[in-house]
Structure formats: structure tokens, C-alpha cells
């Protein structure tokens, strides 16, 4: 497929990294010729230095033949305008980063009138993801499937956990739980566990089940934490705003601290229910004075990765039950995981995954039914498909299918009810099917069988 990406910022770079691995034809357009040059040297793509609203530049990028036009510069107006231009020139789908709340609140209107097929707002999506985690703090990470009727959570197995050195079959027997071990992450590798797989200390396990089952299971493992009732947010940027709004709606006490007085005033106007503090959030005295230790959760959302990590480490040392930090650079994120900070959120990954799903589900030959995509360390993926009539193995028990080794049917959701797949389960038309795989670029449910 041919993709034109305008804007070689964080999101653009992440997209290029993932898309060029998937062997697409990628053309990057950016005004900064040095950035373009660096990307062209590193990946097998073509680069054009120029503005995304310059028609001659777009012509040179052959936008008329492009399947996707993705505008992710830092300026909303430019993104909207260049998408309109690209659509007029014949690009099939347009994707634009639009993050100003003023624009984004009119999402539907915009996509219709401005011919943007997928407007996206990294800050809003990241805020939603953090809110999700705060509602279920036992998990390091949480991903919902099939409209929330089933979730996949990531748990970090720390020392003293009762399931250490037990095999998957034994655990399920012992705790009588209806859940599925989907993936285990160990030493940077991802395994799809079979029944005899033994859990070790330091593993990050991904399990799939309904929310109630998972809550019960995490209680059994003495990992259960109550949902956060008071949240301390350091840094008052866009993500903080969206997150606070989301949390306030579910009656959580929110405190935001930011160093810029102007911004604080603005926030207190927009979020009257929240406590807004003006001060240096990286100063530990300030944090302890404002009672960070008494909060259920602390979220570090300043603009600097390093500061977020330090704030998170400090909060963790003060025994704050749940600590979330925003870390954007991929290399830093990996290091932080090794430091023992469990939940790290990266806006660029959140959004890149979302766009990737959009791109893949519209690929030629794919049946356009990918509903969700969740990516673990770039080594494994969890996908949700809707089984259509094109699926070649409808109504056949799974035990009669030759399923590839690196695939796992992670769940079937029929009429909003989660079914843990066994040998006798089958896939019917209209089911939501969850797949976990270490295979790359899966676009079609039929890839499951040999």
C-alpha cells in the first residue's frame, strides 16, 4: 500500500518505523530537510522536504495514487487543510491529528465536512487509556475488547506472589477461575503459554477474562487494589485536562499541579471541580506538602520524560498505590520498565497503534474486520476480529482446526458474553474473535489456520 505521511515528529516517526517494517510504500513529507534525510537513511522510504499544504510538494509525493494520507504535524489547521487538499487530489483515506479541544469536540461534523476519514487526538486517547488503568489499578496495563465485555490485563508478578513456580493448568485448577493466560513477557521476549508453562518471578503476564473474574483472581493473588478515588496529576498539559475531565465524570478527586500560573488559571476555569495548584511539581518538598502520599494514584504528565520518571520514582517510594508515568521515547520506556516502574504510557504508541489498525483493516484483500489491535513490545499482538461470512471455518469445533503454533484463540464473544475457547468451541458468524499472535501483519482471520 502507498502511504504519504506529513510531519516527521514523534507520531510520524513511530508510524514510519512500524509501516516500513510491514513493507508498505511510505513517503514522508516534512519542512525540516535534516529530519527527512535522517529518516530516509534509516528506513527504506522516500522523503520529500516541503510543506504539507504545498500542492506541488503533494504532487511530487504522488498523493493522487496514495491509499492513505496521514497528517501528523504539530499544527491542527495545517493537518486539516492538507487532508482536504489530499482528498481533493485523490487520496483514498485521510487521517489527521487534531488535538485542540475546540476542533475535536466536533469530531463527526469535521470528518464529514472536512473530508477527514479519521481525525485522531493523541492526548485524548492517552488520557482515556490512563483513566482505564486508574479504574483497575491492579493491572499494569489494560485493554478492553468487544465493547468492554472482556478485558486483557497485564500483571507484573512480583516477589511473594502465590502463583510463582506454578504451571498455568495448576493455577486455573487451584483458583477455579475462568480466565485465559494469553501471553507472558519474560526478559524482553514474548511467549504464548501452553498448559505446562511455569510462571516465574518478574514475568509480566497478560490474562484475558471478564472484569469480575479478573477482580476475583487478583484478590486471590493479593494483588487487588481498589479503584483510585483520589488522583494526583503532575503537569497540566492537554492530557492532564482530558484525564481530569474523564476522572471527574466518575467522581474521582483530582489534584493538578503545574508550574505555569496562566495555565493553572485556565485549568481552574475549565475544571471547577478539580483542585489546581501552581507550583513546581518536580520539587519533592512541594509534592509531599501537597499530600502526594495520601493519594491513591499519581500520574506524571510533564513534558519531559526524565522528570516524569523521577516524579514516578519518588511517588513509588512514598508508597502511592498506583503510579503512572508518561514516557515518550521508546528507548527510555524500555529502561523505565527495568527500573520497576510498572505502568508507563507512551502517547505516540497509543496513537500509532490506532492508526496502524485503521490502515491494516483497510488493506486490499483484508476483510476489513479488525476491531482492535494491541501491540506488546512490537513482538506480539492481540487483535479483535468480527467473523464475517468470508471466514473459512465457521461453526467448526476448534479441535478440528489446524491452528498455527504461534496463534492462540484468546476468546470468543457472542451476544456480549465471553466464552473461554475450548476444543469444543466454535466460531459463528458475527462473533467477536480475539486472537493473540507473535505473527506480524495479520489482517485476516483466515491466517489463523495452516
Amino acid at each position: 500500500m502507498r502511504l504519504v505521511i506529513v510531519g516527521a515528529g514523534k507520531v510520524g516517526t513511530t508510524l514510519i518505523e512500524k509501516l516500513s517494517k510491514e513493507k508498505h510504500d511510505v513517503i514522508i513529507v516534512d519542512v525540516d530537510d535534516e529530519k527527512v534525510e535522517r529518516l530516509v537513511n534509516k528506513y527504506d522510504i522516500r522523503g520529500i522536504a516541503g510543506g504539507g499544504c504545498d500542492r506541488s510538494v503533494l504532487q511530487e509525493a504522488e498523493v493522487s495514487k496514495a491509499d492513505f494520507f496521514i497528517a501528523c504535524t504539530s499544527r491542527d489547521e495545517l493537518n486539516i487543510l492538507s487532508c482536504m487538499l489530499a482528498k481533493k487530489m485523490g487520496a483514498k483515506y485521510s487521517v489527521a491529528r487534531v488535538r485542540d479541544p475546540e476542533f475535536y469536540s466536533e469530531e463527526d461534523y469535521m470528518s464529514k465536512e472536512f473530508s477527514i476519514d479519521m481525525p485522531f487526538n493523541p492526548e485524548l486517547r492517552t488520557a482515556e487509556e490512563i483513566a482505564q488503568i486508574l479504574k483497575f489499578p491492579s493491572a499494569v496495563n489494560i485493554e478492553t475488547f468487544a465493547d468492554g465485555s472482556v478485558v486483557m490485563i497485564e500483571l507484573l508478578i512480583k516477589k511473594g506472589n502465590p502463583i510463582i513456580d506454578k504451571s498455568v493448568v495448576d493455577i486455573i485448577k487451584e483458583y477455579e477461575v475462568k480466565l485465559l493466560f494469553s501471553m507472558v513477557e519474560r526478559d524482553g521476549k514474548v511467549f504464548i503459554p501452553r498448559g505446562d508453562f511455569v510462571i516465574k518471578e518478574g514475568d509480566r503476564i497478560h490474562i484475558t477474562a471478564t472484569e469480575q473474574e479478573i477482580a476475583a483472581f487478583s484478590k486471590d493473588m493479593q494483588m487487588y487494589k481498589k479503584r483510585a478515588k483520589s488522583v494526583f496529576i503532575v503537569g497540566g498539559g492537554k492530557i492532564a485536562y482530558y484525564l481530569a475531565k474523564n476522572l471527574i465524570e466518575s467522581r474521582v478527586n483530582v489534584t493538578i499541579i503545574d508550574i505555569d500560573e496562566e495555565r493553572c488559571r485556565e485549568l481552574s476555569e475549565k475544571l471547577p471541580e478539580a483542585t489546581i495548584l501552581c507550583g513546581d511539581g518536580t520539587d519533592q518538598d512541594v509534592l509531599s506538602e501537597e499530600g502526594i502520599a495520601k493519594c491513591d494514584a499519581c500520574v506524571a504528565l510533564t513534558g519531559m520524560d526524565e522528570e516524569n520518571v523521577i516524579i514516578a520514582l519518588y511517588a513509588a517510594s512514598k508508597k502511592v498505590a498506583k503510579v503512572v508515568s508518561k514516557v515518550d521515547r521508546a528507548t527510555v520506556a524500555q529502561m523505565v520498565r527495568n527500573l520497576g516502574l510498572d505502568t508507563v504510557v507512551s502517547p505516540r504508541n497509543v496513537i500509532a497503534n490506532k492508526i496502524l489498525r485503521f490502515v491494516r483493516s483497510r488493506r486490499e484483500g483484508g476483510d476489513g474486520s479488525i476491531n482492535r489491535l494491541y501491540n506488546i513490545l512490537d513482538k506480539a499482538e492481540a487483535l479483535e476480529f468480527i467473523a464475517t461470512a468470508e471466514c473459512k471455518f465457521l461453526n467448526i469445533p476448534l479441535k478440528d482446526l489446524k491452528i498455527k503454533n504461534n496463534y492462540l484463540v484468546n476468546g470468543i464473544v457472542r451476544n456480549k458474553e465471553y466464552i473461554i475457547p475450548t476444543g469444543d468451541s466454535y466460531i459463528a458468524e458475527g462473533d467477536a474473535v480475539l486472537i493473540v499472535t507473535t505473527d506480524k501483519n495479520v489482517t485476516d482471520l483466515n491466517r489463523l489456520i495452516k
Binding site: 502507498r2 516500513s20 510504500d25 530537510d33 530516509v40 537513511n41 534509516k42 527504506d44
Partner: protein
């Protein structure tokens, strides 16, 4: 330095050369020449070393600038070292240094020769000699990029190290597709020339080898008196026009193929290139009118020599040393300029010359009014300081290499100053003939082995546009990661 990766790339090159050597092997068998061993031995050696290093894939396959430079430099060196074997084993050129000179001259599309009697050589050897031009013209690693289904991340460094010109860009987003398009244009143009030559009643064998030498802008001929031997205006004009065409950037042809004529013909470099060529042709034609008597003949010889020298091909139909001094000076100027960036031709390149002149003008303006900000534009775009510096640096190294080389080859005392200087120039710019002993009627046979090795270095450095070879002398290149 990622040594494993470099060995892997070199392995691919060796296997590729072994495959290419099969063509003259088949020819020698079909002509009944009793020298098949001349090809079998190198093929076996190349495969024996090449296949093992080709099969072991390095874990870390990322190519950075220095891996690109080193693998390209060594690829060319190994190609030349192995490519010289058929000449030695086939007893065409018994001395290995001479054979190496001939092969380097072939691959780098120089066309300078140590041979005085070419016509007596076996046909398969002559084929291989001309075929090296064709292989070297577009570049061997570009060919590897075109055929191997590898993940080509980082391949830009290899492509840049082997392609000509100050700035190198891909035609399409995939490196493999870009390389394929370039080779497709190259092959089609070569075939068209073969057909045109066949129409001029040239023999099939001669048509092919001449087309190979033109396409690579090489200049090896299979006749002792070069193209003059055919004594046909038609053949001369076909070759002159094709030399000119192969001296044009291949990006222009791609633009024409995709129908973007406006952009193709607006190219500043193309216009300057054609302009210089026509002006030089006219000036020389007027200047040599007295030698040939009528204007038609003067244009015929002037155009062929200008096209041949400017594109760095080096075919000859007239002895320009018998021309007046002005004409010789113009020929010398054309030798320095060279063809367009992104073509198969050698030289400093028209693009670099234009950038040098423009930045020179800007520099003078800045001297007079120190606060002026000067934007140097080329092809309608403002050039970054990096690009300009790169062009200036290239020129500095070019002059440095020219002077050092002239100095070193003068040690053995075999040539006049003019011969030594023009020989160095003609080797660095991959042209072929120079002046005096190495002029259109002479050859490089008179130089000592040491001088020939210096010339080999000049030719390789010139073909790869100096930087890849220069980086080999930096200790930073060789440090492990």
C-alpha cells in the same frame, strides 16, 4: 564497524561476479577458443570464498554511513582483483599489474588501456573487457540491491556511496524498485543502441561491445584505432548521440517515463550540460576548420570528440593533439567538467561545477558586504550549507589527488609533465585518453608498475567520487561498534 555485515555484502558481490563471468565462458566455448580455464578458475575461486560469506547472515544487519563506504570500496577492489584473472590466465595480458590496470580501467569506465594491439586478442577476452564497462557503469551494488529480496533498511548509504553526484535521491520509496527502474532504463537504452549500430552494418559482436562501452561511458574499443576504424558517419553519430544520452542523469529519463516532461526539461543541470556541449562543439568546429577544410567534417569530428570527452567515455575518431591549442584547451576543460550527476559518466559533474560557481559568486558578495545572507539555489531549491561544503570538500580532494598523483607518477621518469598530468586527470575523471604519450594514439603501457597502481587508485577513487575511498584512511572507520 560491522565487519560481519561487510563480509556478507562482499560475498554477494563475489557470487555476482562469478555469475557474470559465465557469459564470457559460454562465449569462449562457442567460439572454440581454448581458454575456458581463464574463466573457470576465477569462477571457482569466487564461489569458494563468496558462498560461505554470503550464507552467514549477520545478526545486526543495519548499515550506517561507514559500512556503506567500506563495503562499496572493497566491493570494487575485489571485483577488480578477481576480474583481472581472466586476462592473466588467458595469456592476453601476462603481467598481473597490467591486467589489473586494464580491469580497473574497465570497471571504473575509464577506458585507458595498456594494450597496443587489441585486435589480436581472443573474442571472449575482448567481450569481458568491454562488459566490465557495462557492469561498472551503473554500479555493482545497485545491481545487488535490485535483485536481492533483502530488507533494505539503511541501503541508502550503499546507494549514495556508489552513485554519482552531490545529492542522491530515490526515484520511488522502495530501494529495490528504484534500483530496478535504473537498471531497466540502462538495459533498454543499451539495447536500442545495439539495434541502431546493427542498422549501420556493424557486426553483432562489435555492436554489443561498443554499446556496452558507450552505456557505461567507458571507451574500450575492439579496434586498434577505436571508432575511427569503422569510418562511417552514421556509426559515429549514433555513438556520439548515445554517449551524450548516457551522460544525462537517469532521473531525467524516469521523469520522462512517468510523463513529467515539464520537470525533466526544466532541469538546470541538463540545460547547462547541453549548453556546454553545444558551445564547445561549435567553438572547436570553427577552430579546426582549417585542419579539415569543410565545416561538415569539422562538426563531425568536433561533436564526436566533445561528446566522448565530456561524458568521460573516451572513444576517439580524430587525433585532437593535431588540433590548435584553443581546441586542446577546451578538451582539457571538458575533461575536468564531466557528465551530469546521476549518470554513468565520470568527472567533477556539471551539477558540482554549477554549485561551485554559484557559491563562489555568493562568497564574493559576502566578502564585499559581510552582512549579506546569500541563498545559493540549484534546480530551483536553496542548497543547505552541508551540501555546499560537501561540494567544496570534493573539489579540494579532487585537486589534492590530482597534484599528488601527478607527483607520484613522475618519479619513474617515463612520461613528460603533460603526459603525467593528463594521465592523472583522465584516470581520476574516468575518461581514458589524455595528452602526449597517453594521447588518443598512445597508451599507458610505458608506465612503471608503481605508476600503474597509482593510476588504479585514481580510477577507483574517481569512480566512487573520492569520499568512500578517503574514509578508508580514517581510523574512525575501522573501530568496532
Amino acid at each position: 564497524m560491522n565487519y560481519k555485515l561487510v563480509f556478507n555484502v562482499l560475498g554477494k558481490i563475489m557470487v555476482l561476479e562469478a555469475i557474470l563471468l559465465c557469459i564470457p565462458l559460454i562465449l569462449s566455448l562457442s567460439y572454440g577458443e581454448n581458454i575456458y580455464l581463464a574463466y573457470v578458475i576465477p569462477i571457482v575461486c569466487l564461489l569458494a570464498v563468496g558462498i560461505p560469506s554470503f550464507i552467514f547472515k549477520p545478526k545486526d544487519a543495519s548499515i550506517y554511513a561507514r559500512e556503506g563506504f567500506v563495503s562499496v570500496s572493497f566491493a570494487w577492489l575485489i571485483m577488480s582483483l578477481a576480474g583481472a584473472l581472466p586476462f592473466v590466465i588467458g595469456k592476453a595480458i601476462p603481467n598481473y599489474i597490467d591486467a589489473l590496470f586494464e580491469t580497473v580501467s574497465g570497471f571504473t569506465t575509464t577506458g585507458a588501456s595498456v594494450l597496443s594491439d587489441i585486435e589480436s586478442l581472443p573474442k571472449s577476452i575482448l567481450f569481458w573487457r568491454s562488459f566490465t564497462h557495462w557492469i561498472g557503469g551503473m554500479g555493482v551494488l545497485v545491481f545487488v540491491l535490485a535483485i536481492l529480496p533483502d530488507d533494505n533498511a539503511g541501503s541508502m548509504h550503499v546507494f549514495r556511496a556508489e552513485s554519482t553526484g552531490p545529492t542522491v535521491g530515490k526515484l520511488v520509496s522502495k530501494m529495490r524498485v528504484t534500483a530496478r527502474i535504473l537498471y531497466a532504463i540502462y538495459i533498454v537504452m543499451t539495447m536500442v543502441e545495439v539495434v541502431c549500430l546493427l542498422c549501420g552494418k556493424m557486426s553483432v559482436f562489435d555492436s554489443f561491445v561498443t554499446a556496452f562501452a558507450t552505456a557505461g561511458t567507458g571507451g574500450f574499443s575492439v579496434k586498434n584505432s577505436s571508432i575511427a576504424a569503422y569510418n562511417s558517419v552514421y556509426i559515429e553519430m549514433v555513438i556520439a548521440v548515445f554517449m551524450m544520452l548516457f551522460g544525462v542523469s537517469f532521473n531525467i529519463y524516469y521523469l520522462i517515463i512517468i510523463g513529467n516532461f515539464a520537470k525533466a526539461f526544466k532541469s538546470e543541470e541538463l540545460r547547462v550540460y547541453i549548453g556546454i556541449m553545444l558551445t564547445a562543439t561549435m567553438l572547436i568546429a570553427v577552430n579546426i576548420l582549417r585542419v579539415y577544410g569543410n565545416f561538415g567534417q569539422a562538426v563531425r569530428y568536433s561533436f564526436f570528440q566533445v561528446s566522448s570527452v565530456m561524458t568521460s567515455t573516451g572513444f576517439i575518431t580524430a587525433d585532437y593533439e593535431k588540433w590548435p591549442a584553443l581546441s586542446q584547451a577546451i578538451i582539457m576543460f571538458l575533461m575536468v567538467v564531466g557528465a551530469c550527476a546521476g549518470s554513468t559518466g565520470g568527472g567533477i559533474k556539471v551539477a558540482r561545477l554549477v554549485i561551485l560557481c554559484k557559491s563562489g559568486v555568493g562568497g564574493v558578495r559576502k566578502l564585499v558586504k559581510p552582512r549579506t545572507i546569500v541563498a545559493t539555489k540549484f534546480e530551483g531549491e536553496t542548497l543547505s550549507d552541508d551540501t555546499i561544503n560537501n561540494v567544496r570538500l570534493f573539489f579540494v580532494f579532487f585537486v589534492g589527488l590530482l597534484i599528488t598523483s601527478t607527483l607520484l607518477v613522475s618519479i619513474d621518469g617515463n612520461g613528460t609533465f603533460l603526459a603525467n598530468f593528463s594521465a592523472s586527470l583522465t584516470c581520476i575523471n574516468n575518461i581514458g585518453p589524455g595528452f602526449d604519450q597517453v594521447g588518443p594514439t598512445g597508451n599507458f603501457g610505458g608506465y612503471s608498475a608503481f605508476s600503474k597502481l597509482i593510476f588504479c587508485f585514481d580510477m577507483l577513487a574517481g569512480r566512487l567520487e573520492i569520499f568512500p575511498i578517503i574514509t578508508l584512511f580514517s581510523s574512525a572507520t575501522w573501530r568496532k561498534h
